[in-house]
Structures are given as C-alpha cells and as structure tokens.
C-alpha cells in the first residue's frame, strides 16, 4: 500500500503521514523500498538502470529533481520524530511559518561520491551534523541529533543512489535543511521545526568550470558582522548578498570577497566559500571569530596542509596581504578547492599563480582523492554508506 503511494503520489508533505505508517528504519529498509519501487516501475523506466538518465558529462550546479527526499518534524519538547522518505516534491507550509516570515532556517551542504568500485562515500558527515546543531542553538531552533542527521542524509543518498554520478563525473550534492515550520504571528521562535534532506547531482559550481576564479573585493556591503549570525549557516546570511553577487557577476567576476563590517580592513570569506592565501611555505586563512563560517572543507584542507609540512596560520588577514600572496584559493563543499586567478580591490587587480604543480592543486587533489576513495583514508573522514 505504501509503495503504491510512493509510485503514484505527486507527493506533498501530507503523504508523509501515509508513508510513515510504514516507517522506514535504517538504510537497509530504504534500499529495499527503492529496489521494490524500481521494479514496480517496469514500463515507465528501465529496470536494470544503475544510473538515472542524466548527461553526466555536462552537469553544472543546477537543481535536478531526484527521486526521494527525507523529512522529519520536531514535537513541542524538541525531539525529532523518526523521519522518513517520500517522493521528492513540494512541501506544505503554513503561510505564518517562522521560516517564511522571520527567516528562521539553517542549511547544510554535503556531497556523496561514487568510488571506482561503486561504493558511495560521504565526507565527514558528523561535522555537518554538529555544525547544524551549533547553528540551531544560535537561531533558537531545535535540531535533530547527530545520529538522526547522519541517518537522514544516508537514507537520502541510498534512496537516490542512481543519481550519484559515475566516478569522476561529479557528486550528489546534499542539502539538509532545518527550518521553523510552526506558525506564529508576533516575532518569536517557531514551536515546530522541520528537518529535510534532498539532493541533486552536480559537477562544477562556477560556470567557469575548473578555470581560475576572478574575485572582487566588496567594500560597502558586508556578509556578516560581530553579534550577527555569520558564523553559523543561517539562511539569513545569504539573501542580503545576492545583490552584491549580481553586480560583481555583471562585471565579469566569478564571486565576491567580503571584508569585516567593523573596520572594512580585513578579508573574511567569499559568498559561499572560505579563502586561503599562499606565500612560500605559509598558508594563511582568516580565523573564524564568529563572523566567518567554519567550513568543513576549510578545516580538512588545513589539516592536509599541516600534514604536508606547510605552516598554516589562522588569523586576521588584512586586505593588503592580497597583494603579496603567490597563490590564492577558495574552499567549500560546493566549490571544492578552487584556484583564484585574480582579485580586484579598489581598481587594482592582482594576479596569482595557477595551474599544475602548485600548492592549490596539491591540496585539492589530495582532498578529492580522499573524498572519492582513491587515496587511503587514514583519518577516518570517509563514511561508506552501503
């Protein structure tokens, strides 16, 4: 009965209750549901298909509708119900929901990679879980436990296995989302929260592909400020910078590098990635002091660099230091480790070394190697999910 619901429904959140009458516990159950579902779809889809019908050589970073999403809600005491999968589709929200009126929401970003042997890998998912928890505390939200978060992500990946690109062709980008779904009129925290995970196959984040980025230093509009929410992955950090990004892109830049709000003298980060400067054997990145998002790619790259013998400094980075760097790169789940070819600050354009054999490429290839399973994972960063 539940399977018929899965195959027939256009799937709104209201179907969740029907499906959850047949709750799917654990990743095995999710996998078996998917297998049975696929076998039911004879005639409408190819049954033996390992992969979804996607042009894997031309993936960008746009939303591709996958098969399933995962969702769960909190109850008044703050615990989250056991979540379940449903067909990817619209959700229902009260117009007075906290997220719609007061921006009460957090996002995460993760990727699932297909290894050469076909196994699917997640990269340090517990760090995303912990980061969401920390963000929830800052934004007066209840959050799923680390275990519930990881379980939700795993179920989403497994159920959408055919959307994980072939090895080397990209990854399944995962978007865990936590938001105030309960309704209120006056300004207050919602009393009910929804945790949702959906995915989309992706390759390169920037339209430049893997070509080096050209950044613009924004002096007027800050991304965050002390006492604000910049240090957590709140949705409220993003809407206000759309305008800056558009202006920069219209002028030919790939993205924007923001300065601190208080003095406008120090670099912080890019719209959706952290930034690193390389000079000789030293790698420098702005310290996370509350305004900067503590990236998981950032953290991993720092560790890889230290292991390789580089001197890594996390500190205040005055914008003047951009002139002296030999290499610059950005890090992020969506962006990966991306070379920066130039940065323009107050009409002065500084160019950096790009290409093979450089620090950026060295760090990037080690990270990707670990994430895709071609380099041995001695740090237990990688989680195999089936």
């Amino acid at each position: 009965m539940a399977l018929r619901c899965l195959s027939q429904s256009s799937t709104t959140f209201s179907y969740l209750s029907k499906i959850c009458g047949f709750r799917m516990h654990g990743t095995k159950a999710a996998a078996s549901v998917v297998e049975e579902h696929v076998s039911e779809m004879v005639g409408t889809e190819r049954v033996d298909e390992d992969y979804a019908d996607v042009d894997w050589d031309n993936l960008g970073f746009s939303l591709v509708r996958t098969d399933y999403m995962f969702a769960t809600r909190s109850c008044r005491e703050g615990n989250f119900e056991q979540g379940c999968l449903s067909r990817y589709g619209n959700i229902e929200l009260n117009p007075a929901a906290g997220i719609l009126n007061y921006g009460q929401g957090l996002i995460e970003g993760m990727k699932a990679y297909r290894r050469e042997d076909g196994r699917v890998l997640l990269f340090r998912p517990e760090l995303n879980a912990v980061r969401m928890k920390k963000g929830a505390e800052r934004m007066c939200m209840h959050s799923p436990s680390v275990q519930q978060f990881i379980e939700g992500v795993k179920q989403t990946v497994l159920a959408n296995r055919r959307w994980v690109p072939p090895p080397g062709k990209g990854s399944l980008y995962l978007r865990p989302l936590l938001f105030g779904s309960g309704a209120s009129l006056g300004l207050s925290a919602a009393s009910e929260f929804t945790f949702l995970v959906f995915g989309s196959p992706v390759q390169n984040y920037f339209k430049e592909g893997t070509a080096a980025l050209n950044l613009y230093v924004e002096e007027v509009i800050p991304r965050a400020y002390l006492g604000g929410s910049g240090g957590v992955k709140s949705i409220s950090n993003y809407g206000p910078v759309l305008e800056v990004m558009r202006r920069a892109k219209a002028r030919g830049f790939s993205d924007v590098l923001y300065l601190d709000a208080e003095t406008k003298k120090n670099i912080e980060e890019v719209s959706a990635s952290n930034i690193f400067l390389v000079k000789g054997n030293t790698i420098v990145t702005p310290a996370t002091n509350g305004t900067i998002l503590g990236g998981i790619t950032r953290k991993s790259v720092i560790e890889i660099a230290i292991d390789l013998g580089y001197k890594v400094e996390e500190r205040v980075v005055p914008v003047e230091e951009l002139k002296d760097a030999e290499e610059v790169f950005c890090t992020g789940t969506a962006t990966g480790v991306a070379s920066v070819g130039s940065i323009t600050f107050q009409n002065t354009r500084t160019e950096y070394k790009v290409g093979d054999g450089l620090v950026t490429q060295q760090l990037g290839s080690i990270l990707v190697g670990i994430q895709t399973g071609s380099i041995q994972d001695i740090k237990n960063w990688v989680v195999e999910i089936d």
Binding site: N90, A96, M139, G186, N237
Partner: protein, 387 residues
C-alpha cells in the same frame, strides 16, 4: 469547524492563550488536520453571513488566529505579478529548494484594518507599505507587486475578512503581506519564481504587558544590523538572528530589546519590531534612518503629528547616554502602536521615564489612534476607507 473549535474553547475554563494554542496545535501544526480543515472550510456555511467571527474580542492578544481568506499572486523572475486572487486560508506548497527556504529571500509587511463606529473599514497609509515592500524587494533581488496591486490586495483581504475585524476599540485586523522567492534554486542565486501572499489575523495588544509601560534592555552582545546589510528593509533575514537576544531579554523580564549600532556600539538604533523616540523637553529625537534602521510608517506618521503639534522633531544619531537622560521614551510600530517605555536598563543601570496621560507619548498616541480609527478628521489623506 471554526464554530466547533470556538465552542470547545468557550466551554473549557482555560486562559485564552491556551485556547489559542489548542486551536493552533489542533488545526495548524498538524498538516493532515490543516488539510482536513481546509476541506471543511471550503463548504459555505451560514457563518459567512455573520457580522463577526466567534472570538473573545475583549481578550485579543497578538497570537495567530488566521482570518478566513488569504490572497496569493505569483510571478516569474523576469515577469510581472498577475492573477492575484483570494482563497481560503490554508497551507501553501513550496519546493524544498525554494529560494526563501534555502537563502532567506523574502520580505514582509505589516498593516492594520480598523473598524469604524459606522461599520466601515479603515486602512492606514497602505501605499506606504506597498512602496516599502518594493524597496525591500529590490534590495533582495525580487520583483514586487505594483503599489496598486499591493493596495488592492490589502483592501480585498480586509473586505473579505470583515467579520474578523474587531469591534471598534477592541483591536484591529493585522494584515501580513509576504513576498518570497518560491521557485527552486540550488546554487546561491535569486529564485526563478516569486509568490506574494497576504494573510490576516485579529489582534489586540502586541506586548503581553498590554498597554502597560515597557521595560527595555539595551543589547550589547547581539547586533540587529550593520551598514551595508539589509537592516533598512523589512527582510525576513533581519529577524531570526535576534531571536536569541530577544528570548534572553524576555526571560529576564524585559518587554523587548534596544539595539545599538554595529560599529561604535554607542548609538541607538531600534527595538526588535519597532522604532524608538526620545523626548527631552519639547524636543523629540529619533535615530536617523541611514540604512540600518527600518523606516517605520508609524514612525514617519508620528514625526509629522509631533511637528504639527509644535514639537521640535529631530532625526539624528542618538547616543545611548541621551537615552538615559531623557524625560520620556516611546516605541512606534504597526504592531505595537505608540507604546510608552517605563524603564531602560543599560549596563546594570536602570532609568525610569515619565509616562501616563499627560505624557508626550500619550498625546501623540491619541492623535494617531484617533486618525486610524476615524474619530479624528483625516486632513492628510492617510486613511483609506473601504466598504
């Protein structure tokens, strides 16, 4: 269904806020029940002909009691808003990858409809909200309804929900226009489609203190807005980040928070959902709106009323020391009205202010309320009368 819930509420001996929560938890948080509720409400009932909805008009707070109808209008990124229409209040459908959910791409407004003694409904300067939403939409890279479309939607909402507009003197119908990026987007970019919604709820006093004086706390750790940010527009992104500070202040017994500027941390900005005024002698000062402060419509109106009454009205940088030395302090906002501040606490120092019937605050408040409820003649063209 409404009648059933209301009768249930009336028959139980419980405080009103519990009734409302019961009503909400029964019908609004549970999606299945909400859908069922939606089905029920579609059937025409004799209630549509009643003059008033079944509410306890003497005990309205600021909880959500959704009025029957909401208004929905959509637009593509490069298109125009068209075909707005009323529908029964109920859940909306959104893609999980909607811009508003993932990147906070949304702005909202707040306005009120009042019922006049003769039964007509009055709106207060809805065109100002319309323009403010347009400014906010532009800042957040969203298309917006035209001023005419916005005002028409608000009028339709007030008319269609007439029975939810409280009797004169008991409160007002709070109207919430909302503009959001509803289309799906994965990477950080503007949504490809937008939705404009208006819903409403009858309300009384915003603060649980009712009309009693407010006690404010000057916040030094959390900041509401920074220069260059979105603080000057009514973006949804300005609100969630202050919930923590607000919750902390309320738990310590304060009504609301006064925020300071992000740079020097010495200049007054505004409270969580209202502007603030400082009175010293015949001079009324309020922080200038230089991009971080929301330019309130009540604020603007009160400034004009005060000026007409012969006060010297000054928009400037207001140092926190000036606030601590003032004669009176009051807050203004659509939801809060003109609310007197009894005390402000700053760094463990608590200062008291004059309040009461002879205060400047009360004088300005009664003129504003008189205009809004139609008991004072509207010579400025601020009032729109409908029905």
């Amino acid at each position: 269904m409404i009648k059933t819930i209301s009768s249930l509420r009336n028959s139980l001996v419980l405080p009103l806020h519990v009734h409302i929560r019961t009503l909400q938890s029964f019908s609004k948080y549970n999606v299945q029940a909400a859908s069922a509720l939606q089905e029920e409400r579609k059937k025409p009932t004799h209630q549509d002909d009643d003059e008033y909805a079944d509410m306890d008009w003497d005990n309205l707070g600021f909880g959500l009691t959704p009025a029957d109808y909401m208004y929905v209008m959509k637009c593509s990124k490069d298109g125009e808003f068209t075909k707005g229409e009323l529908s029964r209040f109920g859940n909306i459908q959104l893609s999980p990858s909607a811009g508003v959910l993932n990147y906070g791409q949304g702005v909202y407004e707040g306005t009120k409809a009042q019922r006049k003694e003769n039964g007509k409904l009055l709106l207060f300067r809805p065109d100002q909200n319309a323009v403010r939403m347009q400014i906010g939409a532009e800042r957040m890279l969203m298309p917006s309804p035209s001023v005419d479309q916005f005002v028409d939607a608000v009028k339709q909402i007030a008319s269609a929900n007439k029975r939810w507009v409280p009797p004169p003197g008991k409160g007002s119908l709070y109207i919430r226009p909302l503009l959001m990026g509803s289309g799906p987007i994965l990477g950080l970019a503007p949504a490809p489609e937008y939705t404009f919604i208006v819903y409403a709820s009858p309300v009384g006093n915003y603060f649980k203190e009712g009309v009693a004086d407010l006690n404010l706390y000057v916040e030094e750790e959390y900041v509401r807005a920074a220069p260059g940010g979105a603080g000057g527009v009514k973006s949804i992104t300005n609100y969630a980040p202050v919930l923590k500070a607000l919750r902390r202040a309320k738990s310590r017994g304060f009504s609301d928070i006064l925020y300071l500027d992000a740079v020097k941390k010495k200049y007054l900005e505004e409270a969580s959902s209202c502007n603030v005024f400082v009175v010293k002698g015949r001079t009324i000062s309020t922080p200038a709106t230089s991009g971080t402060i929301l330019e309130g419509i009540t604020r603007k109106s009160v400034m004009e009323i005060a000026s007409d009454q012969g006060y010297q009205v000054v928009e400037k940088a207001v140092h926190v020391d000036e606030v601590m030395n003032a004669d009176e302090v009051f807050c203004t906002g659509t939801a809060v009205g003109v609310a007197p501040v009894g005390t402000i606490t700053y760094q463990d120092k608590r200062v008291g202010y004059e309040t009461g019937d002879e205060s400047v605050c009360q004088k300005l408040r009664s003129v504003l309320v008189g205009l809004q409820t139609g008991t004072i003649e509207d010579t400025k063209g601020w009032i729109t009368c409908i029905n």
